[in-house]
Structure formats: C-alpha cells, structure tokens
C-alpha cells in the first residue's frame, strides 16, 4: 500500500516535469551576403566596354540582438591572371574592405569601374572575385544560411 502511494507521487512529479513550459526557438542566426541588385552572385563584363560602372552590395542580416554597435565586414579581392587592377578595373577606394555598417544600415555598395581591355586574352583567368572573409560579430555566417555558403563570394568575369 505504501509503495503504491510512493509510485503515485513519483508519477505525478514526472508528469509535472513533462509539463515544463515550452521555450520558442527563433531563427536568429546573423549572416552576411554579397550580391548584385538582382540577388545574383556573378556578373559578366564585356571587355570592349569602357568606363562601365558596376555596383554590387554587401547585405547584413542581423537582429537587434547583434546590431547594437557597428558591424564590420571584411572581404578579400582575388584578381585572375588576365586582369590588372588599375588598368582593367578599379574598385571605389572608399568602399574597400572592411565595410562598417552602422546600426540601421543593412546594405553597403561595392563599386567597380571597368575599362576597355586592350590586351584581352580569353585563355587567361579573367575573373575578379570579392570574397567575404569575416565580420566583427562572432558566429555571423558568411553567405546565406544553408549548405554551400551561397553568396559568400561575388564573381565578375570579363568576356
């Protein structure tokens, strides 16, 4: 008889424990991506065009939990062996890495002017890659969440 009471009490406690309030888990992973105005991560450049201005953007996605102070985003510039900075293209100096996002600013441009390629060689690597490398927010994902880290790199290709 006594054991039965004990069992009932234990069961009640277990039941109460299982009724613990459920905590909502929200998606709150900060991330940063690099893309053009259409959300694409590549752009072809006609090598015969001169003084062609292109603009892409770096977009941060971070809730107020993370965006209490400026966020800096770093990117690296990888120039293929078919291109020369200053001759074939120029990146706007004021928008070079690192980019600083003040709270409330979620997108910043990166602008590149392309010049007519006088010695274009299609056999060479004529790509210009802008690759996100880090941010000031610990845990901020580079590229959109999901496999492959899409839009963590933007590729211009001169054709």
């Amino acid at each position: 008889m006594k054991n039965r009471y004990i069992l009932t009490i234990v069961a009640a406690i277990a039941l109460l424990c299982s009724c613990e309030k459920h905590t909502e888990v929200y998606f709150d992973t900060p991330f940063v991506r690099i893309e053009d105005a259409n959300g694409k991560a590549t752009m072809d450049i006609d090598h015969t065009l001169d003084n062609m201005l292109t603009e892409i953007r770096v977009v941060v996605s971070a809730s107020n939990n993370y965006f209490t102070e400026p966020i800096t985003v770093e990117y690296e510039v990888i120039v293929g062996d078919g291109l020369k900075e200053g001759e074939d293209f120029r990146i706007q100096a004021s928008h070079r890495s690192p980019l600083t996002f003040s709270p409330g600013t979620y997108a910043l441009p990166i602008r590149v002017i392309w010049y007519k390629a006088t010695d274009f060689d299609p056999a060479k690597d004529n790509t210009l890659r802008l690759r996100l490398t880090g941010t000031s927010v610990p845990g901020m994902q580079l590229g959109v969440p999901g496999p492959g880290g899409k839009r963590s790199e933007f590729i211009f290709k001169q054709l």
């Binding site: 003084n51 201005l53 706007q92 004021s94 409330g104």
Partner: protein
C-alpha cells in the same frame, strides 16, 4: 594594573601617531565640470572657453519632462548645485530649463565656477542641407557646382576637364547631424576630396532622433552639342531640294528636283532618312515633266504624318500642284490650281493647317496685270477644291510705297505647332511681317513692317522662321546696311508686336540685284532648350554654328563641304537636329546635331 595602563597608553600613542600620518587634504586647484549629461542620451557639450561658460544640451522634442537626474563628473573636492539645489550625480532630480545655473564649488578652497545651461531643441531630422563643389576648392571649376535640389539621388554636371576627376565636395547638414561622405565623417560645412568617377555616398545621421538619411550624388559632364555625318545621296543630278521633319516619325524628308538618265527636264522625288539610310517615299518622278521641268518642291505633313508634296509644275505653266501620299502620290484637287503662275524665284510657305488639316499655300503671282502680281495670295484646299484669294489689308499692296516696285512680296516661311500656324513674310521696302494664319486662311497681324535700325530701305528677301520652346517664334533674316548687311536672329515679341535682335550678328552678306542675298543659310531653334543653330556658306566654306551661353556664335568642328548651297536646319520635338545641304557635286548631304551621349556614374 600599572602594566595594563602602560599598554593602553602605548596603544593610544601608536594610534595617535598613525592618525597623524593620514595624508593631508591638498586642494587640486581645479573647480570645473569635465562631463555633464541630463540622461544617457542627452549629453551636454561643455564650453569652458566661452563667457559665461556654457553647457549646451540638445533635448529631443519627444522629451516632454523638464525634470532630470543629471550625471556629471567634477574635479576633486567639488560640490555642485543647479539653480541653488545641491545635486549628487545620478541621484538628485532637479528641474532644468534654458538658463539654469550650475555652480561648482571647491570644498577645500574658495574657488567656484558657474555654467549656464543652454537647452536646444533637436530638429529630429537627419537631413543634408547643402552640397557643392566650390570653385575656390577646385581649380578645374570656374564656378560653384551645386545640385538643383537636395534629393536622395542628385546629379551635378561639371565641365569636361573636371569630369571623372578628384574634386573637393563641401557638405552641410541639419542640427546635430553627423555627415559621412563615402564612409568618412565630415563636419558640417567642411570639405572632403572625392573620386567623382564613382557615385558619392552621403549619409546623414541624427543620433539624438535615431534617424538616418542616405543620399547619392553623381557627377556627370556638362553635355555639349556635337555634329555627326549621317549620309549623302544623289539621284541622277539633284537640282534643288527642301527638308522638313515628319512629326509622326521625327525623320527628315527631302523633296527635290532631279534629272535621271536621259531625262531632259527636272522631275520631283521625295526621300526620307529612316535612321540608317535614305529611302524613297512613294514613286520617284512624281511630277509630269515630259514637257518642262518642275521646280521648287516642298514637303509638308498632316498631324498624323501623312506627307504632302507641292511643286511648281512644268506641265501647268509653273503653277503649283499638290500631291498626297496615299499608297503612292495622289493629286490633291487639280494640278496647277492657282489662277496665275507663281513667282518661281523663292520657295514660299506650304503647310497643312493644324486646325483643320487643309493644305495651304502662300504664293506670289508672276503674271503682269493680274491682281496677284508680286502680291501675297493664299490658296486652301477644302477637301474638294482649291480656293485662291489675294491677301489685302494685313499686308502691303504692290506699288503702295515710294516706288512702283515697293511692296513687292518676296516670300513667306511657315512655322507652327499642333494648333497654330504662323508665317513670316518679306516685302520690298516694307520689311518683315509676322502673321498668325487663321483656319480660313485670313491673317492676324503680329508684327507689321519691321525694318531693323540702320536699314536704309527695304530688306533682302531671304528669311527663315522657326518655332522654339513653348511656342516661341524666331526669325533669321538679313539686315541691310549702307555697305552691305549681315544675318541676324530675332525673337518675335508677340505682346510688343515686334522683332527683337537675339544674339550676336551672324556673317556679313552680299545683297544681289534681285533683293536676295548671295549666301545661302538655314537655321533652327531647338524646341527643348532653345539652342539656335545655323548652317551657311561662308566664303566658299560650309560652316555650322550655334549661339553659345553668351549668345555669341560658336562653330561646330567637322569635315564639312568646302562649298555648298541650299542649307536647311530642323529640330524634332525631342531636340534632335538635322542639317542638310547640297554639295557642288550635287550630293544631298545630311548631318545630325545632338547633345553628346550622357555618361553618368551609375
């Protein structure tokens, strides 16, 4: 007991010694505030150099209470009162208003310092108030360059030598706003160098209001007009031609007389420039030139773009004939519809009246002892037949002046728009006239007998007449002087009913025996921006010129023909201009005049 007393005495002495070793209070010789805030978001700006010393606090309009718990830092041993109330930092609530007095008192000296609190309301707006490239800061600029208005996207234009160069930009923003130009903080009213190859990003933040405004400033080039060769053609041998723009397709059409192959007389054809080549409009050789040449061909357009061609037809004794393009060229009414033959020295005004679509021709008769002899007459087609009348009352009559030939009607030129028709006319001795042509062909006088100062008598026959922006009218004519003359553009002042010289005199002229001038010329006014362009033969050299910002003639550069004739200039409604002339080799040659292609950093 004694021993105990000794111990206590020693202990007391030691305590006394230790107490006497405590550091002495030394005045810091300072009595001032080093920081002051009404709350975490309202930080005061202490100005200890002003007299009186001030603390400026900017209070957002959203803050309605005037009671605050200030936090502050003062120098050592100082106490603070605000309007007489002792205040402890972060603890004491006190009423603060503009003019409140903060008194800092040094507890260990006689020093005191007073501050006056100045309360400013924040404007709550983050806004750029001015941006400019000042000539004083930029050697490549002759004058300050500013956008028309502050907007989220702004464009300024600089001369070619400053285009895509590094320039210094000056920015100003509203109260308490922080300005960043290309991510660099710039004080309001200060300057920063920018690479104008790229758009310039300007961000203005009002931290107090928590608002931000973003702007993009693009620096373009001041666009200049350029002339480009489009093409040339001949059909057999072209004798003469006229050019008009079709309002439907904005393309230039050419009515011309030509002899092809073994033809012995000039026939009439019409071609158009279709944007890439010249193409025939209807059949070639649309007149009956089997017996005598046709001459003075002109093309005009209905509002829907239907072309009409008029020429003096050889088969009807140099009377005018009009044909309309309806599949091919179809006769309008009868051939040779005027009662007398026409003076074939000059082209005269032929147009489709915009109010009723009636083909209309102003002409001068060339048959002696008739009422139309060297007198203005008008013919209109009402849809079934032509009606011709001599114009009286509103123009001089032949022989009405000081000589038998005074009042000789030379010619009229048409200018109009969708609703109104105007002609400018020249009469020997009586000068230039401008009339509005009413729907029934009668005239309403705008300018009566205009003779420029210095003209001893009469005027040469030659004139051109064009419509400019907003229906304004311009006339280019020859001003006769004692030793020759010169070309001059006039505006038509419709209120004062007179012509007014516009811009510098153009080239000098030679007046021939028949009252005309020896040099051909054409001119037009851009309806978009009012640019006046002329083309003319200049001592056996073709020149294209325009009135610059100072209303002086500036010349276009180009490889134009050495000598040519029959110059025509026309602008379409979008500001694209065409210049055509006939070379000595009888090639009809066409150029385009337009602003250079716009290149903005975008």
């Amino acid at each position: 007991m004694k021993k105990t007393f000794k111990i206590l005495a020693c202990a007391f002495a030691a305590v006394a010694v230790l107490a006497s070793c405590e550091p002495k209070v030394v005045p810091d010789a300072k009595c001032e505030l080093t920081a002051f805030a009404l709350s975490s978001g309202i930080v005061g700006r202490i100005d200890a150099t002003s007299a009186p010393k001030t603390i400026i606090v900017v209070v957002p309009t959203s803050v309605t209470s005037n009671t605050f718990t200030p936090t502050f830092t003062a120098t050592e041993f100082d106490t603070v009162t605000i309007d007489g109330t002792p205040v402890t930092s972060g603890e004491t609530s006190v009423r603060i208003s503009n003019g409140s007095k903060v008194v800092v008192t040094d507890a260990v000296s006689a020093m005191t310092t007073e501050y006056l609190i100045i309360v400013q309301a924040n404007d709550e707006v983050a806004e750029l108030t001015a941006v400019s490239f000042k000539a004083a800061d930029n050697s490549l600029l002759d004058e300050d360059v500013t956008p028309d208005a502050i907007a989220s996207e702004m464009v300024v234009r600089v001369p070619g030598e400053a285009f895509r160069q590094e320039l210094t930009v000056t920015v100003e923003a509203g109260m308490n706003d922080e300005i960043k130009v290309n991510n660099t903080v710039v004080e309001s009213g200060s300057s920063i160098k920018v690479d104008t190859s790229f758009p310039i990003d300007i961000t203005v933040t009002d931290a107090i209001a928590g608002t931000t405004a973003s702007y993009v400033l693009k620096v373009g080039k001041i666009l200049e007009y350029t002339v480009a060769f489009l093409g040339a053609f001949t059909e057999g041998t072209i004798n003469d031609f006229t050019m008009a723009l079709n309002p439907a397709d904005d393309m230039p059409y050419f009515a011309y007389t030509r002899k092809v192959g073994e033809e012995s007389n000039n026939n009439v054809s019409v071609k158009k420039w279709n944007g890439s080549s010249f193409v025939l409009v209807g059949s070639t050789g649309l007149a009956d030139a089997s017996a005598r040449s046709a001459s003075k061909p002109m093309v005009a357009f209905a509002k829907d773009g239907t072309p009409y061609v008029k020429y003096l037809a050889g088969d009807v004794a140099s009377k005018p004939t009009v044909k309309k393009l309806d599949g091919d060229w179809q006769l309008v009414g009868t051939a040779g519809f005027t009662p007398q033959n026409n003076n074939s020295t000059y082209y005269s005004a032929f147009f489709i009246h915009p109010s009723n679509g009636r083909p209309t021709l102003f002409w001068a008769g060339n048959s002696r002892n008739t009422t139309s002899y060297r007198t203005m007459a008008v013919s209109m087609f009402d849809g079934s037949e032509w009606a011709s009348n001599v114009v009286t009352g509103t123009v001089p009559a032949y022989g009405s002046g000081s000589t038998a030939s005074s009042g000789n009607y030379y010619k009229s030129v048409y200018a109009g728009n969708d609703s109104k028709a105007f002609i400018a006319s020249s009469f020997n001795e009586f000068g230039y006239y401008v009339h509005e042509v009413n729907a029934d062909g009668t005239l309403t006088t705008i300018v009566d007998s205009f003779i420029p100062d210095g003209a001893p008598h009469g005027l040469p026959a030659n004139l051109q007449f064009k419509m400019g922006p907003n229906g304004s009218l311009y006339l280019m004519g020859a001003v006769r002087t004692t030793d020759g003359g010169y070309m001059q553009v006039f505006t038509v002042d419709q209120d004062a009913k007179t012509l007014k010289a516009y811009g510098a005199a153009s080239r000098s002229i030679t007046i021939s025996a028949n009252g005309g001038i020896s040099e051909d010329f054409g001119f037009a006014v851009n309806p978009v921006d009012g640019l006046v362009v002329t083309a003319f033969d200049d001592s056996e050299n073709t020149s294209f010129a325009y009135l610059d910002d100072n209303l002086q003639w500036a010349y276009f550069t180009g490889n134009f023909a050495d000598a040519a004739s029959e110059y025509y200039v026309e602008f379409d409604k979008n500001g694209i201009g065409y210049i055509a002339y006939l070379t000595e080799a009888k090639e009809l040659t066409l150029y385009k005049v337009a602003l250079e292609e716009d290149i903005l950093p975008e």
